[in-house]
Symmetry: C2
Subunit: 434 residues, 2 copies
């Protein structure tokens, strides 16, 4: 084992990049003890705007560059950390780093979700490491467990709260009885949601992360577009009230299940038992429940975002890369992700359903609805009739079903919607008994 120093090139000096520099600098001695030699920051690729940051101004002249060529041609860079985010030019930078023989570490969920298979193949070809622990779950170890610790398991299920923004909004709605727009506004004011919140509240961020986790867990390529996706904006405060009556909590879950060679992957709001551990994962925290044939259930919980937690994962990946470099280990992956597994269309999934209907307040309504469900072979598990609005002569009807095929449920909903006595389908949420 050579105890030489390891050179680091960093791309991006935003919040994440800046924090990574801080850790590499402040903990230099401790990290050197872990890798057997010092980690030396040799070059940082920044945008012109970053040069004005206080952190940038304190750095030695020559460490920073805005020029891509200067960055990639700098001597002595063994590991490239990509912390610029977004799809482009991150993808191109990562490919260039790999092609030029550098080990790469990234926190970029979008690039890994969309181009992970391509980058992994490239890293195998050039025999360098590709690590992305920070791309999912912030500082919670997740990628490494799937790659190493749980490797003896057939993973059968993942149920994950992996977007802190939506979990914060849903937690506020559950606790305060407020509606979605108000909770979103508050989250934005507190900096937990962005001005344009689409990426979070429509489940796009969770979709990327699930693509990464499911690809690893099932050793196959799951692309973001393979995943069914619904956001949280249609959840109302009344859904939380009914959920509580039913002993259920509402969470945005990223779900992956495997049975034989079929996979189902979906991101949508889910009702789960309120005494389950996932139901207790509140606020901006993440919780990831993994089911496997040997472990039964393992749950990981922690901060899924933020510069400190993310830097914990990035620096751990840097240390692992540095250890591999000193040991002369190239790319570790022995298997090539196959594409032999079939992604189930949503029509084929089977789950339980919660249905909130705004109906005419008159006799026989439940009978008509029950008949449609029965004709579609869907059996009702519970029914609550509530909140008659005397002026409008309407009442709210909340039904839950036993496990039923999504296809049958969709068909029943179409028929129910056409009933004269049904004013509106208020909501339709899947239930998972985890």
């Amino acid at each position: 084992m050579k105890n030489r120093s390891i050179g680091i090139g960093l791309m991006g000096l935003g919040i994440i990049g800046g924090q990574v520099v801080k850790v590499l600098t402040e903990k230099a001695d401790m990290l050197a003890g872990q890798t057997g030699g010092p980690l030396v920051l040799r070059k940082i690729k920044v945008l012109p705007v970053d040069l004005k940051r206080p952190q940038a101004r304190e750095m030695p002249a020559g460490l920073l560059t805005t020029d891509e060529e200067e960055f990639f041609n700098a001597p002595g860079i063994d590991i490239v950390i990509e912390a610029i985010g977004g799809e482009h030019p991150a993808r191109e930078y990562l490919k260039r780093a790999i092609t030029s023989g550098r080990y790469v570490v990234t926190s970029n969920k979008e690039v890994i979700a969309k181009h992970g298979a391509e980058l992994q193949a490239l890293a195998q070809k050039h025999n360098v490491g590709l690590r992305y622990e920070a791309s999912v779950g912030g500082g919670i170890p997740l990628i490494a467990p799937f790659k190493y610790d749980l490797v003896a398991n057939d993973i059968t299920g993942i149920f994950a709260i992996i977007n802190g923004t939506t979990n914060y909004i849903l937690t506020r709605m559950a606790r305060e009885g407020i509606d979605f727009p108000q909770a979103l506004k508050s989250a934005q004011e507190l900096g937990y949601a962005e001005a344009n919140p689409e990426n979070d509240i429509e489940g796009i961020d969770a979709n990327y992360k699930l693509a990464i986790l499911a690809s690893l867990a099932f050793q196959t390529v799951v692309r973001p577009e393979d995943i069914y996706r619904e956001g949280i904006s249609r959840i109302g405060s009344r859904d939380f009230r009914y959920a509580r009556e039913l002993g259920l909590a509402i969470k945005l879950l990223a779900i992956a299940k495997r049975a034989d060679n079929s996979i189902e992957v979906r991101v949508h709001p889910v009702l789960i038992p309120e005494d389950s551990l996932l139901a207790k994962v509140d606020g901006v925290y993440n919780g990831i429940l993994v089911e496997g044939d040997l472990i039964e259930k393992v749950l990981f919980y922690g901060q899924g975002a933020g510069p400190l937690a993310t830097s914990s994962a990035v620096v751990a990946d840097v240390v692992a890369s540095a250890q591999d470099i000193t040991f002369g280990v190239g790319n570790r992956l022995k298997w090539t992700p196959g594409s032999g597994k079939r992604i189930k269309p949503m029509d084929e999934i089977e789950t339980q359903y919660y249905l909130r209907l705004n109906c005419a307040d008159r006799p026989g309504v439940l009978a008509q609805i029950s008949k449609i469900l029965g004709d579609n072979m869907i059996s009702i598990a519970s029914a609550i009739q509530k909140e008659a609005d005397e002026a409008a002569q309407t009442a709210e009807l909340v039904l839950t079903t036993h496990p039923s095929p999504e296809k049958a449920m969709r068909q029943a909903l179409n028929q129910i919607e056409r009933l004269e006595v049904v004013k509106e389908i208020g909501n339709f949420i899947r239930i998972e008994h985890i």
Copy 2:
């Protein structure tokens, strides 16, 4: 990278060893895909009694041996799995395996807790891997996260439910209002507690596991005898009733904290807020909360024992060892555990306390007790007076304190015990606001 086969020698064919054989056999193809070459079971060291097991009878002649010499002289063994448990002869076997150049994998918490530093030094000297993921937390990834994933953190605290038996007993007591002897008996009947339950209920098992985790987290040698230890047998059903009134749950926790170069390590019953995630870890499950400067809090949850979960960790260690062998990587540890950190005597710790006193039911009792606490600079956070026994003219008084030094609390307890109005100190439990 050579894609040769990796030879395995297994010591012990009990419940764990038998399950490991099952996984290695049934998942041979999948595991070969992970390591780049097949894992071949070359020899199993058994006790004469094991030869009668159905599993043993189905094995090829010559695979089993009761002879230590035959085992260690068998050709082509790269990795030795130790699954016999207990301190001796496991320690001697592990030393012999390491000294003869084999990578070792063990699930033996007692040996690692007592002799981990010695074995690690030996493994470094002979440049082979020493892995023990299954020794703590069964199938929950814990050792690997401390060694790799959380390596950028200064770990400041560990709060762990790491003994399933005691957690099962406490869960039964909390839910059913039964007393310790009854809960223990029931746990024994269901096979969750052993006929001689001392190892679990006195916190010895948790003590071993904490020694392992704290040694890793703080990169120092924490020996089992460094750890303060109390069992759960003195917890009564009334303590659960009062805890609930105070919004607290009772758990046996293994606690490790670090401040600068001082460490505190202790295993004892603890009152924790009932809405904390650890309080929701019920039954035989384990939950390990880790605090670090970057991650803030991460919690790991799952089955802490059982053959399936344990085999998950053992086989993951075998795969990691096999990968290292094919890559030509020897011992990975870069640091030598120091002993520079000071273990705080219990007198120096500071925490909150719950105090249940059986007192004379007459005026001025609380005043006398408060005076003693005040004289010792301990301030009362809450007081409940309950359950006057009219015949005996006694009442139960439950106090909680603000954070106070253990030394002052001990002194106050001595003085309180001598008060004529105090019949008995019913219980004394530490409180942690995690």
